[in-house]
Amino acid sequence: MVWRTIARTLRHRPLTVPPDAISDAATQDLADRLAAVSKRRLGRSLAIRQVDAGSCNGCELEINMLNGIVYDLERFGLRFVASPRHADVLLVTGPITRNMQDALRRTYDATPDPKFVVAVGDCAVDGGVFKGSYAIHGGVDSTVPVDLVVRGCPPTPAQLLEGLRLLVEANAT
């Protein structure tokens, strides 16, 4: 079964979706913004640490899909790492709950410079539907500085991929 499937894959085109073109204007815009932050080039490879700081887990479901064969994040030089100490990018989801605020700040502090923060999902922008609760501190930028926002509830893997590739391109520009 395993070998038959592998043999079959040699005959047809890959299951991974071909990448869409990335907007030059958006790349340049982000590159200009990152230039001030990025002291040295990280090149075309970024290590990502995902932090759920209050999400309903909908965003995590779609982020997980990036690791599969369909979206195959690693072909763009991006990969998820197990520790913030190995990371260049923090991918933060959720409205920031008061109970996670410390942990997020400490994760940010543990990430070496230069580092980028990507806020993922509508809740990560300003708390989303949970805005105004006694248990919510706010969006991601209420706790750590944000470089890029990927909206959606949850954003699709294609949207996440577009945002992360933008980051790679802007970083390498």
Binding site: M1, C56, E60, M65
Partner: protein, 499 residues
């Protein structure tokens, strides 16, 4: 008197479809005493409002579901946790949110309140400024030679929700695992109060994103029960279509993720491919990959746009599933990781009334689609897979078997969709209702009280409340390195219990 008789003897208050038995504090105390020696009556859920504490019981003796409540007297009520250990997390949550004290409870440490909120008991009408300091949490002690502790989380190594796991280990072997949650507490129950069911449905859909449909259905059914209306037949069928799509999609993800935690990359690649196809089909059919907000109180938000992609995704899954199970069986290094790992004893599953694949992999034959049943499953014949081994392997196999059942259900549902309206309006009613749905994790129960068309009180019980404690028990005697595998095989929701 035995526990079930005490419950039934109490006078009832209106709640649809189960009347609520109102116990006096004395009758409640007698109930707790009677439950000590009782093995039939299981605790399914426990919650509170500012005046009362509520419980939902299941009498396994005759299959009845019994709703009960007791008035909180001078800020306290008799604790249930000495008789039903699963009550402990509920009691601690009730204390943190409403300030009610469970007298004689087995554990009085805070649960949801980590000392970061501005208020103590934020859902109580008498909320006071919080005086609690955010001190390091206290963990339960372990006695023995050469024990050491491993602290993990709340930020974990994978793409996963936050929680703290405190392992006490002797060498590689786990002596005790204690789980501390509450990091994702968003104040959801408080945000839902004062809103119409339609407006509050967005919160039910976001209690646990992976169960968005199942929670939306349970919430919608509770609201409809309180308003004494029924969703139209087409909406009921479409809800079931979405629920089964959600079940298959999650089981595909879980099966891949379990194999991935045993470092067997082929299976997650294939399961992930099918999951993507199914999410794409859900998008084509309902306009959202997870179908979030597609179920609303009174019906469904929109009609099915296209069922061709659903059927072709299902055919592809059904075609490959037997082969994938053969691969799983053929690789002894994979099976070696699964069999005998993270075993949950059947008596614990019954004691905690754990539902879903956790219960059904350890011999607890329980599925809300069959009992107390609900439309459209009430009129459909289908299997509920059951295994006895209770290990990671059994939880994997239950999921694979359930996918086959759901694929068959989906075909029948799609072939038999009636014509008709998609929603009924909800009147501005006052009343109490309880709704349920079998999600991919297990039984979901939602209770709410409406006052003039607005939510006065609500509680949504995710299956994970009764499954997380068993993960703690399942880890005993396993090695630390097998924890990710066991955790994935449970796949409990963090957000779902953190509220």
């Amino acid at each position: 008197m035995i526990a079930a008789e005490i419950l039934r003897a109490a006078p009832t208050a209106p709640c649809a479809p189960f009347p609520r038995h109102v116990l006096t504090p004395d009758a409640w105390a007698a109930l707790v005493d009677a439950l000590q020696g009782d093995r039939d009556v299981a605790l399914l859920s426990m919650w509170a409002d500012s005046q009362q504490v509520y419980c939902l019981f299941h009498d396994a003796g005759n299959g009845d579901f019994i709703l009960a409540s007791v008035q909180v007297d001078a800020g306290a009520y008799r604790a249930l946790s000495p008789a039903r250990p699963a009550a402990s997390w509920f009691e601690r949550s009730i204390h943190d949110l409403f300030g009610h004290v469970a007298e004689g409870g087995t554990d009085d440490r805070p649960w949801l309140d980590h000392g970061h909120w501005d208020q103590h008991a934020p859902l109580s009408p008498r909320a006071t400024p919080s005086l609690m300091a955010a001190e390091p949490p206290q963990f339960l002690p372990s006695d023995g030679d050469d024990l050491h502790q491993i602290a993990v989380g709340p930020v974990h190594a994978g793409i996963i929700e936050p929680g703290h796991f405190r392992f006490t280990a002797q060498g590689e072997t786990i002596v005790r695992l204690e789980i501390r949650l509450g990091y994702l507490h968003k104040g959801t129950l408080g945000l839902m109060r004062g809103k119409s069911p339609r407006a509050a449905a967005r919160f039910a859909a976001r209690l646990s994103g992976d169960s968005t449909i199942a929670h939306s259905i349970a919430f919608a059914r509770a609201a409809e029960a309180a308003c004494a209306v029924e969703a139209p037949p087409r909406a009921v069928m479409l809800r079931a279509v979405m629920a089964e799509l959600e079940r298959v999609a999650n089981h595909l993800g879980d099966c891949g993720a379990i194999a991935n935690d045993a470092a067997f990359a082929f299976l997650p690649a294939r399961f992930g491919w099918h999951r993507e196809a199914l999410l794409g089909a859900s998008f084509a059919a309902f306009g959202h990959r997870l179908m979030m907000d597609c179920v609303i109180p009174g019906g469904v938000a929109g009609d099915l746009a296209d069922d061709g992609s659903i059927l072709s995704a299902l055919a592809a899954i059904e075609g490959e599933l037997p082969g994938l199970l053969r691969v799983y069986d053929d690789y002894s290094s994979l099976v070696d990781r699964m069999v005998g790992t993270g075993t949950v004893r059947p008596d614990l599953v019954h004691r905690f009334a754990a539902g879903g694949f956790v219960g059904r992999a350890s011999g607890r034959d329980f599925d809300l689609r069959r009992s107390p049943a609900y439309a459209p499953y009430r009129d459909m014949a289908f299997d509920v897979p059951l295994l006895q081994a209770g290990d990671v392997d059994a939880r994997f196999r239950i999921r694979v078997a359930e996918m086959t059942v759901s694929i068959d259900l989906l075909r029948r549902l799609l072939a038999g969709l009636p014509d008709g309206p998609l929603t009924v309006p909800l009147p501005l009613a006052s009343g109490e209702g309880i709704g349920w749905a079998e999600g991919f994790r297990g039984d979901i129960w939602t209770w709410l009280r409406l006052d003039g068309g607005q939510i006065a009180a609500v509680f949504m019980r995710d299956p994970s409340w009764l499954q997380w404690p068993l993960l703690q028990a399942a880890m005993e005697g396993n090695i630390v390195a097998d924890f990710p595998l066991c955790n994935k095989s449970f796949n409990c929701s963090y957000s779902g219990v953190d509220l």
